[in-house]
Every structure is written in structure tokens, then in C-alpha cells.
């Protein structure tokens, strides 16, 4: 299939069919985790465009998710019966606007200065919600009702599967749109700016505008993810948007393989699923509580360090090298050599 639009659409539809079928195979808790992976992927995919493709490092993406989550929760506080699509759209818009403002500021900043400013954003913004407690609910946060499936799906349709469907749909739409964006002319401009600003500028690219665009796209994704996250968690509170969310997102895209959307999928899967697996493992060992309690976190740190030392291009890079190695070793002498790309 030459047409990338058609190819992306086919892949997304195929993924949708497979994933929806899988939600029937798995139990409710696995569906819940799948929803988490999908939500996390949406934010990670946005960050991939910003950091991986456009080269702007954000340590504060959790704060953008918080904007989406609070938009949703505030709307639901006023209108609890709102159909889910409206809070989702509102979150995309509000966070996109916030992203434009932050993007204009960020376009002036480079490297660690941008990292520091976004870090300050991640630490500072949740405190705004604490301070203006009458609006944002303070430390207690704002509760969000559990989304329930439409009655047409039957009375015993699990809430978790319904949430997984919504999250999967949102994730695949995001994947489709971003894949087209990244593979098109805009993607080329985003990359050109990341590679060499001066050269991009000489080639007639408005560097600042491209950087702001990357921030808006990335923020809109974070807003959508934040909105779904509010439904997934059931509460929007400052303690849910600490620095750890931002750092998890960043580690997801780097561990998965920086700059590629499929890397973001792998990374999101790992970051959401690993804590459960590790804590189950640690729970089976008979350790003193101070050791057992902290073992999952320690292992998480080790995974980050080892991945960076051993697989600098992330899991995707590692898989790719493995694949090439395997291909070279397995190739039979008489096999004709096929040139893959022109």
C-alpha cells in the first residue's frame, strides 16, 4: 500500500478489531490495565512528537495531563450527566490552548533551560490546584464518576471493558492522526528543526512556529489522556499529578525507543504493566517490610539504568538489532538478496 493514509487507517482498524476481541478474552482487571496502557500511550505519543521528533525536552507533561483532567472534572462537577465525548473534547481544547501559551514561551528556550522550566511547571502547577481549593477541590481533589456502558451492550457488560473500548478508540484515533502528521510534510519540518535549527531556518521553515505547533499537538494529546485518566482513576487530585507522571511518560518514550510511535506503544505497555508484575514478584519473596516495600521501585530504577546502558535506542532499537542479526544469521546462501528500500 503506497498511500500512507490508507496504510495507517488499515493498521488502526486491524488493531481496533484485535484489541476489542482481546477485551472479551481477558478478565475485567486486565481490561482495566489495557485501558491504562492506551491512556498512557496517548500522552506518550504526544510527547514523542514533541521530544522524540521535534527535539524539545519536556519534564512537565504530567502538568499538561493535569490540565486535561481538571477540565474534565470541573465540567463533571457542574454537569455530572454530560456524555463522555464533551469533557474529552473540552480537555483537548483547553490543554491545546495551554500548550500554545507554554509553546510560545518554550520556543525561546533550549536544552536544559527548557527542561528546567517544564520541571518547574510540573512541580508548581499542582500547587495551584491546592491553593485554589474552592474551585479545584484542594488536596482532596475532585471525584469523577465511573463511566458506565450504554444499556444496549447488556446489563452485565463490565465497566472496565467499556472504559477499555473508549481508551482504545481514543488511542487509535491519536495514533492514526499522529502517524499521518509525522510521516507527512509537517513531520519532515519537525525533524528538520530538531536536527539543525539554523539549516531549517535557511530552508524557509519558521522554526518558532513549528516548535509551537509541536507543543500544541503534544499538549492536545496530553489533554485527551488527562481527561481519560480522570475517568480511569476516579479522582483528579494534585497528588496524582506529581513529578512521577512526567518522568514515567519520559521513560516510556525513551525505553520504548525515542522518536517512534511504536516505541511509545512498547514503552507505555512496560511502564503501566511492570509495576504490577514487579510488586507481585516482590510479594512472593519473604522479605522484611522496608526491603519488600521498596523493591519494586529499586527494580524500576535498575531497569531504567540498564536499558540506557545496554539498549541506548530502547527496546525497539534492541528488537531491531536482534531482528537484523537473526536475519543475517538465518539467511540461506542461495537466497536472493532483496533490496528493501530504494
Amino acid at each position: 500500500m503506497r498511500n500512507p493514509l490508507l496504510r495507517h487507517a488499515t493498521v488502526c482498524v486491524a488493531l481496533a478489531v484485535v484489541l476489542v476481541l482481546l477485551t472479551y478474552v481477558f478478565d475485567a482487571f486486565t481490561d482495566y490495565k489495557i485501558a491504562g496502557v492506551a491512556i498512557f500511550f496517548i500522552a506518550a505519543a504526544g510527547l514523542t512528537v514533541l521530544t522524540g521528533v521535534n527535539g524539545q525536552l519536556s519534564l512537565g507533561h504530567g502538568a499538561l495531563m493535569a490540565i486535561g483532567a481538571y477540565t474534565t472534572s470541573l465540567l463533571l462537577k457542574e454537569q455530572p450527566q454530560l456524555p463522555m465525548i464533551l469533557p474529552l473534547l473540552a480537555a483537548i481544547v483547553s490543554t491545546g490552548v495551554a500548550g500554545a501559551v507554554i509553546g510560545v514561551a518554550a520556543a525561546r528556550l533550549r536544552g536544559p533551560y527548557l527542561a528546567g522550566a517544564t520541571l518547574a511547571l510540573a512541580v508548581g502547577l499542582p500547587q495551584v490546584a491546592v491553593h485554589y481549593g474552592s474551585v479545584f477541590g484542594g488536596n482532596q481533589g475532585l471525584p469523577v464518576p465511573v463511566p458506565t456502558p450504554p444499556s444496549a451492550l447488556g446489563g452485565d457488560f463490565p465497566n472496565e471493558r467499556w472504559l477499555a473500548w473508549i481508551a482504545i478508540a481514543a488511542a487509535l484515533i491519536t495514533l492514526f492522526l499522529l502517524a499521518n502528521l509525522v510521516s507527512g510534510a509537517t513531520g519532515a519540518r519537525l525533524r528538520a528543526v530538531a536536527d539543525d535549527e539554523a539549516a531549517a531556518s535557511l530552508a524557509g521553515i519558521n522554526v518558532a512556529r513549528i516548535q509551537v505547533l509541536a507543543f500544541v499537538v503534544s499538549a492536545a494529546c496530553a489533554g485527551l489522556a488527562g481527561s481519560l485518566f480522570a475517568y480511569w482513576v476516579g479522582l483528579t487530585a494534585p497528588s496524582g499529578f506529581g513529578l512521577s507522571v512526567s518522568l514515567q511518560l519520559l521513560s516510556a518514550i525513551v525505553i520504548g525507543g525515542l522518536g517512534s510511535l511504536s516505541g511509545a506503544v512498547l514503552g507505555s505497555f512496560l511502564v503501566v504493566m511492570a509495576p504490577f508484575t514487579i510488586s507481585d514478584l516482590a510479594g512472593n519473596l519473604n522479605l522484611s517490610s522496608d526491603v519488600a516495600n521498596n523493591l519494586p521501585l529499586a527494580l524500576y530504577g535498575v531497569v531504567l539504568i540498564v536499558t540506557m546502558l545496554a539498549f541506548p535506542r530502547g527496546i525497539q532499537g534492541a528488537l531491531f538489532s536482534l531482528w537484523r542479526l537473526a536475519k543475517r544469521n538465518l539467511r540461506r546462501p542461495q537466497a536472493p538478496t532483496v533490496s528493501t528500500t530504494a
Partner: protein, 292 residues
């Protein structure tokens, strides 16, 4: 007036502690173009080492020296074992590596030393000095913190300006290729730089702990505020980093005191953005420099 005085003394004292964190970040940034996000966690860890020594009947001052020594070994070891192997790769890899180290240290510390909040001793009284009937809003410990920070900064200045090894380190950081041609062992200089930076961090950890107590993530905010100070001043300028960090200390103290302590981080954010919008390379940036 009284509140203002207290806030000022508090702000300057904590500002000097942030300044040591900022200076440590700047030293490493200048040498290896890496922001060490684990700087605070490393300082937390060496402070636990000092407390462990004190609990085993070592005197405060010996434990103080042990903390700084442990900091040096720790910093040098991190450079050799973790940073060196991935030098020259994408800058983000270094970010994730140091974040991984941060997470690992904050998990290992409670495993080794227990997860409860611990008191860390101050070598001098933290009770404010009174002159006759007048209360001065400064304690002997505050004076010690500021004096220790100033002394260390002075020593570093002399070291980098006046000693051969200090000059070699600067050369290795700025023009590694030329330094190598001149016979300077650049790798060793970078290790030394990381070690010295970690000594600064360790000092900050020991000096901040009596005021905020010791627990596994007690240095998180010191790192954020030290980093804020460093980029406020300009990451390539040690003088800028120190000045920036003291400004951060003061602003946070005034915001906390006059507007409410839940707004401190918001105040830090607003100030940082305001400064960076006017001077994107920090207050003390001399030249525009491309960074990854």
C-alpha cells in the same frame, strides 16, 4: 519588619544550601554537558551514611568528613561506571539514566537505613541568638551554614583559578580535544569533576537535614530549587548559579511567608518563567551557545 527579617535570614540560609546544589549541577554540566537529576538523591544517601556513622558513636565532625568523602567516591564512581559508557549518546539517555539513579537511590536508602523520618544533628545550636533583650533572628547554625558555603565556594574558586589541576579540569571541560593534545588526561579530569560536585551536594545534604529532617526523598525539592537557581543564573556560570539560587531561596521564603507556603513552588515557577522570557540563557549568560 520582624517577619521580614526572619524570612530574609531563612531565605538566605536556604538559598546558600540551594546554591551548593546549583553549583554541583553547574560543575557537572560544564564538564560533561549532563544535568545530574540524581544530585539530590546522592546527597540524601551520603547524609544517611553520616547518620549511620553518628549512630555508631562516630563524632559529628568525623561523620561530616565521612559524608563528604563518601560523596566524592560516589560521584566519581557514578561518572566512571554509569556516565562514561554512554557519553556522547543522545542527551535524553543521560536524563533517563540519572532519573533511574534517583529512583534507585530513593528505594535503596529505606532498605538500608529504614524508611522512617530521622532527625539529623546540627553541630551548633539552632536556637536564635539574643543580644540582651533583643532577639536576633539568626542562630549559630545559620551562621555556620552560610560560612561553610562561602568557604567552600572560595576554596573552589582558588582551586580552579590557582592550581594546576584546577586549570587542567577547566581545560578538559571546555576544549577536551586541545586538552588531550596538551597531555591532560581528560577522562580523569571529568571523574574528578563529578567527585567534587558530589562533595558539594553531600555538604548541602548534611546542612539541610537538621531543618527539614532526613527521609528518602528529602532532597527532591532542594534539587528542583537548586536547578531553578542554576538556570536562573545561567548554567555555564558558577557565579550566576550561586546568585540565582540565593534569589530562589529569598523569593520562596517571601512567597511562603507572605502569600502562603502552598504557593512557594508556584512563586518559583512564575519567577523562573519571567526571567527566562527576558533572558533565555539565564541572567549571567555571556554568549549564546547551542545546546542539544
Amino acid at each position: 519588619m520582624r517577619t521580614f527579617l526572619i524570612l530574609t535570614v531563612d531565605g538566605v540560609t536556604s538559598g546558600f544550601i540551594y546554591a551548593m546544589v546549583a553549583l554541583a549541577l553547574v560543575m557537572i554540566w560544564r564538564a560533561t554537558r549532563v544535568i545530574n537529576y540524581a544530585q539530590g538523591a546522592m546527597a540524601m544517601f551520603t547524609t544517611y551514611v553520616a547518620l549511620f556513622a553518628i549512630q555508631h558513636r562516630v563524632t559529628y565532625w568525623l561523620a561530616f568528613v565521612i559524608a563528604l568523602g563518601a560523596g566524592f567516591v560516589f560521584g566519581a564512581g557514578v561518572e566512571r561506571l554509569l556516565v562514561r559508557p554512554i557519553e556522547g549518546r543522545a542527551p535524553l539517555n543521560m536524563v533517563i539514566l540519572t532519573l533511574g539513579l534517583l529512583i534507585l537511590l530513593e528505594a535503596v536508602a529505606p532498605m538500608l537505613f529504614g524508611g522512617d523520618v530521622k532527625s539529623f544533628p546540627a553541630p551548633f545550636s539552632r536556637i536564635d541568638i539574643t543580644a540582651g533583650a533583643t532577639q536576633l533572628y539568626v542562630s549559630p547554625f545559620d551562621i555556620f551554614v552560610i560560612a561553610a558555603a562561602l568557604l567552600v565556594m572560595l576554596l573552589l574558586l582558588v582551586f580552579f583559578q590557582r592550581t594546576t589541576i584546577g586549570l587542567r579540569m577547566r581545560a578538559a571541560a571546555f576544549r577536551p580535544e586541545i586538552a588531550r593534545l596538551l597531555g591532560i588526561r581528560v577522562g580523569r579530569m571529568l571523574t574528578l569533576g563529578w567527585g567534587l560536585a558530589a562533595v558539594l551536594g553531600a555538604l548541602a545534604g548534611v546542612l539541610i537535614a537538621p531543618g527539614i529532617f532526613l527521609y528518602p526523598n528529602n532532597m527532591d525539592e532542594a534539587l528542583v530549587f537548586g536547578f531553578t537557581g542554576a538556570i536562573l543564573g545561567g548554567l555555564d556560570s558558577p557565579v550566576g548559579a550561586v546568585t540565582g539560587a540565593i534569589v530562589v531561596g529569598l523569593v520562596l521564603s517571601y512567597v511562603g511567608g507572605y502569600l502562603g507556603s502552598d504557593l512557594e513552588t508556584v512563586g518559583g515557577l512564575v519567577m523562573l518563567i519571567a526571567v527566562l522570557m527576558v533572558r533565555p540563557q539565564g541572567l549571567f549568560a555571556f554568549h549564546r551557545q547551542r545546546q542539544a
